[in-house]
């Protein structure tokens, strides 16, 4: 599965499963999301935290480590901006896609915002920040 075709198939499976799971947990539902972040309902919080615990245990058994990215100057400000945006729009980068797929058409505006934000970040980084790519998902 390390060939181009293998990675493509793995990405399709991961995308389908991620979209299906995230939608069924309720991450696309703004009311549920706010109840999670205000600790009124711990269901989604436990789903996320539980997933992290399972992954930690399995990766420890399989000795999966990878190379951690560097903690650069952009991590904390970036995470603050992301958390704020997530709380007000209900979207982390996968969620607006799931929201549109569930019929919430205004989430197309969120996607447009994400597109503008990502392009603006690469532009601003090249021009002003000069942080190394240190991206986690690569």
């Amino acid at each position: 599965m390390r060939t181009r075709g293998g990675v493509l198939i793995a990405n399709i499976i991961a995308g389908l499963a991620l979209g299906y799971t995230v939608a069924n947990i309720g991450f696309g539902d703004y009311a549920e999301l706010n109840r999670m972040f205000t600790f009124q309902d711990l269901r989604m919080f436990l789903a996320f935290g539980g997933a992290v615990v399972i992954i930690v245990v399995v990766f420890a058994m399989l000795r999966v480590r990878g190379t951690p990215g560097r903690i650069h100057a952009g991590v904390i400000p970036g995470a603050v901006l992301f958390g704020t945006g997530w709380a007000i729009s209900g979207g982390c980068p996968a969620i607006p896609i799931v929201q549109v797929a569930s019929g919430y058409l205004p989430a197309l505006v969120t996607i447009a915002g994400v597109v503008v934000g990502i392009r603006a970040c690469r532009w601003a980084n090249a021009k002003y920040f000069h942080l190394d790519g240190g991206s986690c998902g690569r």
Partner: protein
Amino acid sequence: MSNYWPWWAGAIGLAVVAINYTITTDRSFGVSSAWDRVLHWRAERRVERLEAEFTDDRALAEALAAATAEHFGTRPAAPTPPYAASTLGNAPTHARDVSPTPGERASVASRRPAPLVSQAALLLSVFLGGWLAAVTAGRFELRFDMGDGFRELVTDNPAQMIGVLFVGGVLVGFGTRLAGGCSSGHGLNGCGRLHPVSILATAVFFGAAVLVSFLLWKVI
């Protein structure tokens, strides 16, 4: 609206997605970096082409070195990596010490990003997966608002809604790239690998979201 999965089913689902992807591809996936690369496809295609050329050049150089070594009956010079030497059939002992644990293989493979096409496929599949979930659970409904929760907590004015969603989207896009990942890349895959940068980022974005959500709920 209680036909959502119980927490343990969600946890198993998310974990299976991340673990299966890592085991099958030796990589880690992140939705925000998929977005980033797809949106900059022109530049990314150039990089992919350059990398392919570079790989060809390196293969050529390695073949030349191996042929030279064979001709003169010598091993390649010391800095040559073990796999070049093993093609001669006289692998040095330390090559056998390097057991191919998943972690080590991952660190080699994940140095190169997943192909651009597969990142686009990831985003499209998230859409399809979400659609399947909504339709099969009977939640699918075309609508021009973001639901009762958004109306009560944020705004009931459509123009304001558009503005809030756009600004929120920009913050999400800019923030995830600045922080180097989102809830899937840092949150699931990075925290799952206990990477300090991911634990820090996840703590901070969850903290910020909790703060803003309380403000929306109690104050605004």
